[in-house]
């Protein structure tokens, strides 16, 4: 996170604050996010209940707050999983070359051809709704870009003389990969990894919106939006709250690593 203009640095501080608050605010809030009181349904915002009540009389603020660590955590977990597997595959492909590389990269192409939502949909049917299929579906969708990027970087680094020098010194392969290749690969892919968390939040909420998210009544932003959609005119605040939560957290991840180029790089073919 070195460098950047003061504006960018300020944005980073704001982003980190937003994410930290989002991830922890539920800890200090009293009350059960699933507690319902049908008589309070659609009650508007008030001071103790700033986002009002939903169609089942549940406190929307509580639900948004409790959904945050789950959505953010799940998204981050998807990326971590995809990232670790992706760069491992990428580095192995680059190091081994030949058939291994060709086979691994065709596998990656195959995953790219497979629509991520469809994969999650299939897996949800297969494993039942819940975090498991979301994790697998989204991770498998994200993994190819990390594998490709890290293969490219690892390929470049492996061609550098310091790797050759290390090989000539007779070091073990794992030592060479760890000391000479891993860090440059992480450096070149980590910003995109962090940016992808934003995308993963979008995917998690999209799946939630399609009804494939976490089992009810556990709160989840996408599911909350789809639940509140019919009441758009009656309960606009209750609908807007999870929308804004998604928007802000994705925005926060986007600004964690804003440089001149990074925004576009995330979606860039490698």
């Amino acid at each position: 996170m070195k460098g950047g203009t003061p504006m960018m640095r300020r944005m980073q501080v704001v982003s980190i604050t937003v994410l930290a608050v989002a991830a922890s605010v539920h800890l200090i809030l009293p009350g059960d996010p699933n507690a319902q009181d049908l008589l309070k349904a659609f009650e508007g915002p008030s001071l103790p209940h700033p986002f009002g009540f939903d169609h089942l009389g549940r406190d929307v603020f509580l639900r948004v707050a409790h959904a945050a660590p789950r959505s953010l955590g799940l998204a981050a977990l998807c990326v971590v999983f995809a990232y670790v597997v992706g760069i491992a595959l990428g580095m192995i492909a680059a190091y081994r070359g030949g058939f291994v590389e060709a086979a691994l990269m065709r596998l990656v192409d195959l995953l790219l051809a497979f629509p991520g939502i469809l994969l999650a949909l299939l897996l949800a049917g297969f494993l039942g709704a819940g975090p498991g299929p979301i994790l697998l579906g989204i991770s498998l969708g994200l993994m190819p870009q990390f594998a490709r990027l890290s293969r490219a970087t690892a390929g470049q680094v492996l061609a550098e003389p310091h790797v050759e020098a290390a090989e000539m010194a007779g070091f073990r392969t794992t030592a060479i990969l760890r000391r000479h290749v891993l860090l440059p690969v992480i450096r070149s892919t980590l910003p995109i990894g962090i940016l992808s968390i934003g995308g993963a939040i979008l995917s998690v909420s999209s799946l939630g919106f399609l009804g494939l998210g976490i089992r009810p009544p556990t709160p989840e932003w996408g599911a909350m939006i789809s639940e509140m959609m019919p009441y758009i005119s009656e309960a606009p605040v209750q609908l807007a709250a999870p929308c804004i939560a998604i928007f802000l957290s994705v925005l926060a991840f986007a600004h964690l690593f804003t440089t001149e180029r990074s925004t576009a790089v995330a979606g860039r073919p490698s």
């Binding site: 065709r106 192409d109 195959l110 790219l112 051809a113 497979f114 629509p115 991520g116 939502i117 469809l118 949909l121 299939l122 049917g125 297969f126 039942g128 969708g141 934003g198 979008l202 909420s205 999209s206 919106f209 399609l210 996408g222 939006i225 959609m229 758009i232 929308c243 998604i246 928007f247 994705v250 925005l251 986007a254 600004h255 001149e260 180029r261 925004t263 576009a264 995330a266 979606g267 860039r268 073919p269």
Partner: protein, 310 residues
């Protein structure tokens, strides 16, 4: 290269279709019962009826045999009949595929018609107001899930202003909102890429050197820049086009658009095995063809690729 790409496409398609097949068959739930429900509705479901369907359609035979038969049929170009509608899969795929293709092309084209001028202008006037506004736009759009964009567009243009229909596909007006949803999402990334690429090319030394030959800045950029910038942009555009398949499921659901994504999901839910496999095949082949087109475009644009073999 083309042959290689085609072979790869065939391989991807086969694997994808096989995965679809395996998935549909390993999904929990009784296939025949699902088909019975899809045919006759959720009420008065009957296990006996499901058994009849299973016997009629041969669903109780060994899975490998069913798979083998499908592969054998596909080799002769026959996609079979839908288990649910009992209509030919091919004609349904053709109808839906057409719709999806029209939607995809419209959304994709619209996004580039907007992104190209904005991206180029922003690149030539860095830190100007177009650059700033477009950066803000990109970050904002990239932070919104596509379903929220779609809901927003429906609320404004269909429900409040009543300019455009909210759902279905009966006229070109029905195309505007889903295509716009698609375009907004795509342009968030393409504007940035175009801006960065054009800026990079504009700063390349061969542009400066061309200017030392006596060319004006705009002439140098036009003559030496456009092709160099086009290479990564075209590659990215093709990648985005191939990636819209993912967006279709959401957008077609949201707009009740009779396309391939919607078909894929509904046939998956109703366990319409031949339809799922057919749709998977079309998706994979489509993806492969788009990539092939991208390769050909790169080949045409980048002499380093086309002349290497000579």
């Amino acid at each position: 290269m083309i042959v290689g790409r085609l072979a790869q496409t065939a391989l991807v398609a086969l694997t994808l279709v096989t995965m679809c097949f395996v998935f549909v068959h390993t999904l929990p739930g009784d296939t025949a019962l699902r088909i019975a429900e899809a045919r006759g509705g959720s009420e008065f479901l009957n296990v006996g009826k499901a058994r009849e369907i299973a016997a009629e359609e041969g669903l109780d035979r060994p899975i490998l045999l069913q798979y083998g038969e499908w592969i054998e049929r596909i080799a002769t170009g026959d996609l079979g009949m839908s288990l649910v509608t009992r209509q030919p899969v091919a004609s349904e795929l053709w109808n839906r595929g057409q719709n999806t293709l029209i939607l995809g092309i419209a959304g994709w084209l619209a996004s580039y018609l907007v992104a190209l001028p904005i991206g180029i202008y922003a690149a030539l006037r860095p830190h100007g107001w177009v650059d700033k506004i477009s950066s803000f736009y990109c970050v904002t759009m990239a932070s919104l899930p596509s379903f929220l964009m779609g809901i927003g567009l429906i609320s404004i243009f269909a429900l409040s202003l009543r300019w455009l229909p909210p759902a279905g596909f009966r006229s070109w007006e029905h195309l505007i909102l889903p295509a716009a949803t698609l375009a907004l999402g795509l342009s968030a990334f393409s504007i940035r890429l175009i801006r960065d690429t054009v800026r990079e090319v504009n700063g390349a030394f061969f542009i400066t050197f061309a200017r030392t030959k006596g060319l004006t800045a705009s002439a140098a950029l036009r003559e030496n820049g456009s092709r160099n910038a086009a290479i990564p942009i075209v590659a990215f555009a093709a990648l985005q086009f191939a990636a819209v398949v993912d967006g279709f499921i959401m957008i077609e659901t949201l707009f009740n658009f009779p396309g391939l994504g919607d078909l894929l999901v509904s046939s998956m839910l109703s366990r319409d095995v031949p339809m799922v496999m057919g749709a998977g095949l079309v998706a994979a082949v489509g993806y492969g063809l788009v990539n092939l087109a991208a390769d050909l475009a790169s080949l045409a644009l980048d002499p380093r690729l086309s002349q290497r073999g000579q």
